[in-house]
Every structure is written in structure tokens, then in C-alpha cells.
């Protein structure tokens, strides 16, 4: 989350009236910024990772784990120490290991039980930097823990297993059914109290015309009731008009039903942002990383429990999508269009729908033929000189309404700011995000954010995935790799990634040959122009090439093991062999290479099933728990033991047969 401005937040009926103004101003700010920054060149690779935590309090006496709503106090105490550190009166850590490193930054998140931490300074590509990532993540956890109550811990589970149950799963306890969320499961106090967050939740609900609706298929175990009717749903509540939702069929049979933004935006993710050298490289990375989103989602799967029940999906993604889905019935296609402008196929939180690179390899068949675009906005952008691809991208993001509007911001348009642009941009939670440089910071370039990964329980895993993605970007640029598939296939892959054990059991659409075709290859090598630094002239005049094969022949269904490790028959090289080939082409010292080998080996084994995903490990933990009754229910006792085990795992990391070895080591010794 970015900086939180203060002001008077408009209620939805007022906000709706000002939506056009915010969009218009946002587009003018974008154009001003684009004109200013489109010529930026030679920005270094800098990158950063964002790790999110649940703050969990353990009550050993009653064997309960609860979410702690202590975010504000913890952040206050962290900020105080950061001030002291700046004055030089606080060493921040007794640990000498981090001398010379800037202390990590902590940020608020939607959930009042969440924290987000980023490194004190972005990482570079110096390979020795890569070795600091894991220890820095550990340090972040230590620093966070040091600012919590003794019985509290930062836990990197994607979701709290018993969020929204009938018992006192939060401390301090507040009863549900407040005016902002109107949820029958969680209180308004679950959200960060900053006016932005309750307004976001309330306006999404108001725009939608009913509460958000999350129905996750329950995992059917031996003793699970058939059909399963979510026993925690209260059909007799009459506090708010929205309490009618369940009486109108919002809760589906055989599903776990949830009704508030907190069930989605209360999830923890692992997000990585890269700075590109210039706008063409940023656009290329945005496109090339997009097909990897679902693959990495399935590979990091860690979300098998919602609201006290094992569910039949392994990842969080769609639940967040549903939790912030502000589409009206008309936009959803449930009613004929009357007041709204479009039917919109996806939530604001969804897989991305655009390709934006001016790359001769981008065939028009890869684009979404049904993309919804605001034509007026697109025309405005193109009239000012923006090319059609990029204009289409932003005109697609800007089909949405701004949700939170502060009346103070509507007095004067400031073209040196990006607040109105960001209002739309940062509430389009797609799995890729293309980020213009912030206007006020001249040392920051065009950036691309990779957003699909689930947070992992240990810092080792989180570091491994962060570093893997960084190395994949370097391989993409060095080998000029081509992962293009029709973008609708990526949307389908995103759905596929949700299936239980998708990482091993499902197949994903992926491009067969990631290399450029031979004809173009030679053209390139003989003209010695280098494709990783594609200059505009390179795509304005694509070299003559033989007629292209049908798009359908370019990709096929592959297992994740094949995509990551290469297909057994050698037809697809595999991301890890590509990364290794890249590493063999650069000067890497022995120590670094060996550390990187550990990370790559971990990902290789996660992909081929030698090591379990977090989702599988959690399922097995529940299944083997003596208190589990094979009825899909994850009781308070199981939840307590699970959180304790996860906490222990972050320290011991499965060494010597300790908890989590199936996830991290693959063997007990």
C-alpha cells in the first residue's frame, strides 16, 4: 500500500458523481508524467520484495491462536525505533550481521492484523546482493517480532485459518456486523481504521449493491456432511439490509461462504517489483512475466483453509478477487445494461488482460478480443501521442470507478502529482502491474510488479521465489525469450492454478518454443543488433519472416514440472535450465553460486513433487491431527497447533526431521 493521504472520504453516492472528474484528472496526470518520463534511459536494475505477515497471538493456557489487532501499536513502535536509528542512537539490532544495511521498512495493510515489510533499500543485480535477501527477510521478521507482545508472532500464512468463525478469533474481541463491512462474520474493527480502508470496503459494497460474496468449494472428507451447508451462516440476522443476502441465496451448498473484503484483502502475498532500464524494457517484462503468473501461483500454493474449513482450492487468488469485486449486477451480466456502460468479465482484482510491448513477436491473436476499453480515454491518450497498445492498457484500467475519493483532492488539478492516476491504477489489482515513475522522484524509473505469488511460511522459501523471479527476468532479457500465449489462456491458467494440488495434477497452457524463430534469429545476429536492448527501430521495421504458423500450434498444455525443469524429451528447455544457462554466462563467485543452487534446487523439487507445497503440508498437518474428525473442520485446537508449528518452522526450517521437512528438505535426516 502506498502513502495514506488524509482527508474527507466521500460516501459512494457522492463519490460516484465525481468519478469522471477523477478519471479525467488521472489521465491528464498520466500524460504529463508519461511525457516527462518516457525518455528515461539506462536506469539500473533495482528490485524489491514485499513480505506480508499476520500478527498472531498465542494463548497457551486455553490453546488458542488469535489474530492480534495490534497493527497500529506495532507500527508506532517500529517508527519510533526507525527515528532513533536515523539519529544514530539506536543500533536496531544486536545482530552484527546487518551492519551497514538500512533497517527494513514496515507498512500498514488492509487488515488490522497485518504488517508489510520491505527491505530498507532496494536490491541491485550484484549477485552478492541476492545473498542478502534471505537474511534480510529473517531480520525483518526479528525486528517485527521484537516490537510485538511476547506471545505475538509475525506469521507468514496467506490467511488465518479461523478468520470469521463464531469464536473469539481476534484480540481484542469485537462483535461482527458493523456499518462499514456489514459482515455477519467479521467486525469493522478487523480493518485498518484509517478512513481509506473502511471507505474502500463500504464503497465497494455500496457500488455493488450488496455485500461481496465468496463461495469456496469445501474439501469433502469422509465425514463431511453431504450436502455441506456452511454451519456458520446466520440466516436470521436483521441488522442491515445486506443481511438479506444469505436469504437470497448468497451462501451456496457445498461451499464455505464469506461476505467481506477482509476475507480477501486480509491475505498475505509475496510481491516483487523490478525497475526496467527504460519504458520498452518495462513493457517487455510486463508482457513476458504475465504468462508466468499462474505458474508461480500454483507453485507457491499455500491456502487450503478458509473460515475453519478445509477447502477444495489451494490458492488465495480468486477469493481476493471476489472480496473486492465492486461490479454491479448489470456489469456482471445478471441484469440487462441500463445504467452501467459495460459488461465487465473480471473483478478489479484478477489476472491481467493486456499486452503492452511494442514487440514484433506480439501477434494480434494474443490480445483479448473482448477487452473492455474506455474509447474516450484511449482517444485522449493517443491524441497526445501515446501509442495504441499503451493507450489501450490504461484505457482498460480506467473503465473502473475510483472507490475512495477525498473531497480536498478535487479542488485543483496538480499535474506534478499522480494521486488521481494512482487512485485508479492502484485499485486495479491485476497479477502484473506496469508502474510509471513517480513524478516527484526523479531517480526512480519504469517498474513492473509481479503479484501472483502466495506468501510462503519460511523466509528461505520466500527468498527462493523472489530470487528465482529476478533471475528469470535476467534470462528473459539476455536470451530474448518469448513466452507469449493468447492472454485468455493465461486467464484460464489462473483458474487452473486454484485446483487442489494443481502444481502436480494440472496442466497449464505454455509456449512450446521460448526462442525466437530461426529466420529472425539470423537477421538479428548478422545485423548484430541486440534484442535485449531493442531499440524502437527494431520493432518499427520487423524483419521479413516466413508466414506464421497458427497461434494454436505455438502453445500446448504442460505440467509445471516441465515448465520449470524442462520436458523430458527436451522440446521445452525449462525455466531453471534457462536460469542456469544464464548464470553460466556471467561471472558468479563460488559462494554465491552455491547459495543460488540451493534456491534453484528447492524450486526444481517443488515443481517435480519431491517437496510439498505449503497447501499440501497444511492439509496433511490437519489430516494427521488427533483432533481432526475427517469432517473438513479445522478446530481451534488444530489451528493453535498449526500456528505453533508454522512458527517453529520459520526457525528450524525442517532441519533434522523437524516440522516442515516435507516442505523444505524432502528427507528426515
Amino acid at each position: 500500500m502506498g502513502l495514506l493521504a488524509l482527508g474527507t472520504a466521500l460516501e459512494w453516492t457522492e463519490a460516484k458523481k465525481r468519478a469522471d472528474q477523477v478519471r479525467k484528472w488521472g489521465i491528464e496526470q498520466l500524460l504529463a508524467n508519461w511525457h516527462r518520463a518516457k525518455g528515461k534511459e539506462r536506469d539500473a536494475l533495482l528490485w524489491g520484495d514485499e513480505v506480508e505477515y499476520l500478527v498472531v497471538a498465542l494463548d497457551d493456557a486455553s490453546k488458542k491462536a488469535r489474530l492480534s489487532l495490534a497493527q497500529a501499536e506495532i507500527l508506532k513502535s517500529l517508527a519510533r525505533d526507525e527515528e532513533l536509528w536515523k539519529e544514530g542512537t539506536c543500533t536496531y539490532s544486536e545482530n552484527k550481521e546487518h551492519e551497514g544495511e538500512e533497517p527494513p521498512h514496515f507498512h500498514p495493510e488492509f487488515g488490522r492484523f497485518m504488517l508489510e515489510a520491505t527491505p530498507g533499500r532496494p536490491w541491485g543485480i550484484d549477485f552478492k546482493d541476492l545473498l542478502k535477501v534471505e537474511s534480510n527477510m529473517r531480520w525483518r521478521r526479528e525486528v517485527a517480532k521484537a516490537h510485538m507482545a511476547p506471545n505475538e508472532s509475525p506469521i507468514t500464512l496467506t490467511t488465518f485459518p479461523r478468520l470469521g468463525t463464531k469464536d473469539d478469533y481476534i484480540q481484542p474481541y469485537y462483535p461482527p456486523s458493523g456499518p462499514a463491512l456489514r459482515s455477519q462474520f467479521v467486525p469493522d474493527e478487523i480493518a485498518n481504521p484509517h478512513i481509506r480502508f473502511p471507505t474502500l470496503a463500504a464503497n465497494i459494497r455500496a457500488r455493488r449493491g450488496r455485500k461481496v460474496e465468496l463461495n469456496v468449494p469445501v474439501f469433502k472428507d469422509k465425514n463431511t456432511p453431504q450436502p455441506f451447508k456452511d454451519p456458520t451462516v446466520d440466516y436470521d440476522l436483521h441488522n442491515w439490509p445486506e443481511d438479506d443476502d444469505v436469504r437470497n441465496g448468497a451462501a451456496k451448498d457445498d461451499h464455505v461462504y464469506m461476505d467481506a473484503m477482509a476475507f480477501g484483502m486480509g491475505s498475505c502475498c509475496l510481491q516483487i517489483t523490478f525497475q526496467a532500464k527504460n519504458i520498452p524494457e518495462g513493457r517487455k517484462l510486463y508482457d513476458q512475466l504475465s504468462p508466468l503468473g499462474p505458474i508461480l501461483l500454483a507453485l507457491t500454493a499455500a491456502t487450503p483453509i478458509y473460515k475453519g474449513f478445509l477447502v477444495d482450492t489451494d490458492v488465495r487468488w480468486n477469493q481476493i478477487g471476489n472480496a473486492v469485486d465492486d461490479r454491479t449486477k448489470e456489469e456482471l451480466g445478471e441484469l440487462p445494461l441500463k445504467n452501467d456502460r459495460w459488461r465487465i468479465p473480471k473483478s478489479r482484482y484478477a489476472s491481467n488482460s493486456t499486452y503492452i510491448s511494442q514487440d514484433p513477436r506480439l501477434r494480434k491473436e494474443y490480445l483479448d478480443p473482448d477487452l473492455i476499453v474506455d474509447e474516450d480515454i484511449k482517444n485522449r491518450l493517443m491524441q497526445d501521442g501515446m501509442d495504441e497498445l499503451l493507450a489501450t492498457h490504461f484505457a482498460h484500467l480506467f473503465i473502473r470507478d475510483p472507490i475512495v475519493i477525498f473531497s480536498e483532492d478535487l479542488e485543483e488539478l496538480d499535474l506534478n502529482k499522480a494521486d488521481h492516476f494512482e487512485n485508479l491504477q492502484s485499485t486495479n489489482w491485476q497479477h502484473m502491474r506496469f508502474k510509471p515513475p513517480p513524478p516527484e522522484k526523479h531517480d526512480i524509473g519504469w517498474r513492473v510488479e509481479f503479484r501472483s505469488m502466495e506468501i510462503q511460511m519460511t523466509d528461505f522459501e520466500n527468498a527462493a521465489f523472489a530470487i528465482f523471479i529476478v533471475l528469470v527476468t535476467r534470462a528473459i532479457l539476455s536470451f530474448d525469450l518469448n513466452f507469449y500465449i493468447p492472454i485468455q489462456r493465461t486467464t484460464e491458467n489462473m483458474e487452473t492454478a486454484h485446483a487442489r494440488n494443481a502444481v502436480l495434477d494440472e496442466k497449464f497452457y505454455f509456449r512450446r518454443d521460448p526462442f525466437s524463430p530461426p529466420a529472425r534469429r539470423h537477421q538479428q545476429s548478422s545485423s548484430n543488433s541486440n534484442a535485449s536492448s531493442t531499440t524502437p527501430s527494431a520493432y518499427n521495421t520487423p524483419p521479413p519472416s516466413p508466414p506464421l504458423a497458427p497461434v494454436e500450434s505455438e502453445y500446448e498444455l504442460m505440467t509445471i514440472a516441465d515448465i520449470i525443469n524442462g520436458s523430458p524429451d527436451g522440446t521445452f528447455p525449462g525455466l531453471i535450465p534457462l536460469v542456469e544457462s544464464y548464470l553460466n554466462s556471467v561471472n558468479v563467485d563460488v559462494e554465491t553460486r552455491c547459495s543460488l543452487a540451493r534456491y534453484l534446487d528447492f524450486i526444481r523439487k517443488r515443481a517435480n513433487g519431491t517437496l510439498w507445497t505449503g497447501a499440501k503440508w497444511i492439509r496433511e498437518f490437519v489430516a494427521k491431527h488427533p483432533a481432526y474428525k475427517q469432517d473438513s473442520a479445522v478446530s481451534e485446537e488444530i489451528c493453535y497447533d498449526l500456528v505453533k508449528a508454522v512458527d517453529e518452522m520459520t526457525v528450524k526450517e525442517g532441519a533434522n526431521g523437524s516440522v516442515g521437512w516435507e516442505l523444505l528438505r524432502g528427507r528426515k535426516d
Binding site: R474, D480, S525, S526, N587, V590, R593
Partner: protein, 317 residues
């Protein structure tokens, strides 16, 4: 006659040549990328341009180029711009493989030839790091005893063992090139700590890099790590093959066979191509990496082979 084999930029040439099995130390990258580059050059040369002889298919002259006594396979257009950005943006590393059975006395000339080709290809006037690989030295990670490994080799092929004096002699050449400003830093490959300790006192310019091949696990002898740290030598990893281009492979690559380029005769005495013995003299690998972005922009190989009746027969494989 000299044959100059080249791969052009293998990063963007793509295809299977960039991927090789990680389990075995192998020279697949070089062989595959040479083959791919020959093929690409042959295909890219329209038959019509072979006006001189008209038979585009069998003629090699349309896609190769003879200059003085050197035949470039394929033709290299050195007039093309080498790197996309200014020189200061890059780290340029060159690794020169001296080959087994080639007299040490030629190394001075070979080193100059190889460096000149790379400078010409990349349009630069200096490189940042030159790593030299001497034949017959194998690093064994299990125990830091590469010396014995090479002496075991002596049994089968005496000429392969690179004796210490010739190493020193070669190093003098490198030091003088370094003095001329064409090379910023020098490095060696596969040196264990004992060999380094023997070697360093004889050097004016110390190697700043020792590049070692680590198969799949990372067992580096402590003694080497400590010694390298003490001497401020960076231990880098590589995945190159020791005998990177055996003579038999060269003939197969260039010969008339199904997978050959159709330039050399199938045997020294045959008449289906260039006649005579062939002897690969050296191989050089170059890599240009954009420093603060970690992008490998250009990577390729040159190899030089002598062909003709007066060539001393090489070590057969």
C-alpha cells in the same frame, strides 16, 4: 590455411544451443552454436547471390569469406556495431582455451590473434578480464589435488600435461598484453591452492580470478577458499569443458557429412572438400554483460584451426 570458426551472438541465436545438460560437463554449447550458426548463414544466403558459381547448394563460398590466408566460417561482418551502449556500461570477460597438443611457443601469437578478433567483433579496444585455460589441468573438488590428476593424464598422453615452466612463460605474454592496456585483469582456471601458491611468486601481475568448475554440488576445498581470500583472488564458477574442441569434432563440424558444413574433406586424403590435416589451435569465448542490469547482451565463440598438408598432425581423439 587458417579457418576461423565463429558462433556470432549465441544469446539471441537462441534455440537448444544455449541449454545443455547440467549434469555433465560438456562442450555442447560451443558445438551446437557453431553448427546452428553455420546453418543459419547457409540458409540466409540466397542462392541467387552465388552468381559467381551458380550452384548455391554445394558451394561454401557464398556464406564463408576468405581474407588473406584465413577462411571465415561463416563470413563475419565486422562493420556491424558491436554493443548497443557505450563501452563503460559493460563487463567484458574473455576466456581463452589453449588446446592440448599445441606447442606452447605459439601461445603468444594465439593470444594476440584471439584478443584481436574479440575486440574487432565487439568494437571495443579493451576487455575487462581475460581468463586463460591451460590444457590438462583438472580441478578436483573432493580433494584439492589437481596436480595429481594432471600427472595421471601423463600416462596416456604426455604432451597434454602443461608443465609449470610453460605456464609461467605464457603468463609473461599475458602480463605484457595487460601492460599495453588491452586487458584490465587476468585470471586462471582450475588452479588448486597448491598450484596457486607455486604460481603466484613467479607473477608480476597476479591473477585476480581463479575460475573453477563445480559439477552439481558445491564442495570447494577450504584450503582454496582461505588461500584465495588471503591473496584477494575471486573464485568464480564456470561450466566449460576442458577439452573444448577435439580435432575429430572439428572435422565432423566442417566435413561433408549429414551434420557437417561441407567445407572440409571427410579425411585428410579425401577429395570431397578442403584437403589436408586439421589442427584446432585455440578457442576463445567472450561475454559482454551490462553491469548494473546483469543482462548478457553478447556472448560467442571464435575457434581457429589450421588446415593443410604441412600441419603437424594433432592429437587424435
Amino acid at each position: 590455411m587458417k579457418l576461423i570458426l565463429s558462433t556470432s551472438n549465441i544469446m539471441t541465436a537462441g534455440g537448444p544451443s544455449v541449454i545443455r545438460p547440467t549434469t555433465s560437463k560438456s562442450n555442447v554449447e560451443l558445438i551446437n552454436s557453431l553448427r546452428a550458426n553455420f546453418l543459419a548463414a547457409q540458409q540466409a544466403t540466397p542462392p541467387a547471390s552465388g552468381e559467381a558459381n551458380g550452384n548455391g547448394n554445394t558451394s561454401s563460398t557464398s556464406w564463408t569469406k576468405q581474407e588473406d590466408d584465413a577462411l571465415y566460417i561463416p563470413a563475419v561482418d565486422f562493420s556491424q556495431r558491436g554493443l548497443a551502449e557505450e563501452r563503460s556500461q559493460y563487463d567484458i570477460t574473455v576466456k581463452l582455451f589453449y588446446l592440448p597438443g599445441i606447442p606452447v611457443s605459439r601461445r603468444c601469437a594465439h593470444t594476440r590473434q584471439a584478443i584481436e578478433l574479440v575486440l574487432k567483433e565487439l568494437h571495443v579496444d579493451s576487455i575487462d578480464l581475460l581468463i586463460v585455460s591451460f590444457p590438462g589441468i583438472l580441478f578436483d573438488a573432493e580433494d584439492d589435488s589437481e596436480e595429481e590428476v594432471s600427472s595421471v593424464d601423463d600416462g596416456s598422453s604426455t604432451e597434454q600435461a602443461d608443465d609449470f615452466d610453460s605456464t609461467i612463460q605464457t603468463w609473461r605474454t599475458l602480463e605484457s598484453l595487460q601492460e599495453q592496456g588491452k586487458i584490465a585483469q587476468l585470471g586462471v582456471a582450475e588452479f588448486g591452492s597448491e598450484r596457486l601458491a607455486r604460481f603466484l611468486p613467479h607473477t608480476k601481475v597476479k591473477p585476480s580470478v581463479d575460475q573453477i568448475n563445480l559439477k552439481d554440488c558445491c564442495v570447494v576445498p577450504k584450503s582454496l577458499i582461505l588461500y584465495a581470500k588471503q591473496e584477494k583472488i575471486d573464485l568464480l564458477t564456470h561450466n566449460d569443458c576442458n577439452d573444448i574442441l577435439p580435432v575429430g569434432t572439428t572435422r565432423e563440424l566442417l566435413g561433408p557429412g549429414e551434420r557437417g558444413a561441407g567445407i572440409l574433406a571427410s579425411a585428410p586424403g579425401a577429395s570431397d572438400g578442403l584437403q589436408g590435416d586439421i589442427e584446432t589451435q585455440w578457442v576463445v569465448k567472450y561475454t559482454a554483460v551490462v553491469k548494473d542490469r546483469g543482462v548478457v547482451e553478447n556472448k560467442g565463440y571464435f575457434a581457429l584451426a589450421d588446415v593443410g598438408s604441412c600441419v603437424k598432425p594433432g592429437h587424435s581423439t
